[in-house]
Subunit: 176 residues, 2 copies
Amino acid sequence: MTPPPTSSTSSSLSPQDALGLRTALAAARKSYAEGGVPIGASLVLPHPPGEPSGAPVVLGQGHNSRVQLDSPILHGETAALLDAGRLKAEVYRQATMYTTLSPCSMCSGAILLYKIPRLVIGEHHNFVGDEELLRSRGVDVVVLDDPECIDLMERFIREKPEEWYEDIGEVPPAQQ
Amino acid sequence: MTPPPTSSTSSSLSPQDALGLRTALAAARKSYAEGGVPIGASLVLPHPPGEPSGAPVVLGQGHNSRVQLDSPILHGETAALLDAGRLKAEVYRQATMYTTLSPCSMCSGAILLYKIPRLVIGEHHNFVGDEELLRSRGVDVVVLDDPECIDLMERFIREKPEEWYEDIGEVPPAQQ
Ligand SMILES: [Ca+2]
Ligand SMILES: [Ca+2]
Ligand SMILES: [Zn+2]
Ligand SMILES: [Zn+2]
């Protein structure tokens, strides 16, 4: 018997990575429940600023809000950055961004703007963003094959293709 | 005698480009007056959708709102995209983005996400963003040397270096 799909990814992750992915996925599920694009993200520090012996801390988390707030710029990653608020350059440089789906050009650019050194991606089966650009500029990009992230996104694209293609600036295949 | 600095740029622009730059600069000046980062942008179509004989139309405009709204993701360009609201892929593909300053990685990525084919930059003396990436991916990038854009940004960086360096994810030189 194969184990249930979630345990394979979760069990191999560090506590920080498990926290970051779990937070991002919870935000994505919340968006799905609201009828929105189910992509979530979180920005995580290995420990609270000034407390090197402390546990990992979530600075911000959020989800795509195209549907909920009519926003073309609130993707999971930008929503997590907004939730984290104004931070000094030094803080971003110690953080990891977690996202349920490979980041689009805008969100990849946001990671580059703030020089976030590490990105953990839940999956890139449903969409491949600017991972190679990020790697070419020195970002440590880790791609998981998380079955929960894959299933959630697959279901959404099947159910609401118009919203999905709008979100990535593409003409839906049926209209091409 | 040299002519006053603004007339040289304005007089050489097409009506659409003059509208786009003027709108972006007005948004930047508004932000400056509010104590914010004075970078503005506008998203412009050559004519209203479905009215090919109509005049150029501003779909959205906005300014950096780091200071005003504590937002690390509302730059001029993303604010203009937010103001324009949810648009179909086809609309972005007919638009031009105008910005008073060379776009950072995030805003360059937003232009790539939505496949906006043309970008007009007020100036790149004070900051050079991802212009080369945009060109390498087929965006028609036009850089003006608008003296009003240059002066406004120069003044701001001199007056509020901390806000400026925070906005581009950099450690201020004095702290390095
Ligand atoms: Ca996202
Ligand atoms: Ca800007
Ligand atoms: Zn994105
Ligand atoms: Zn920007």
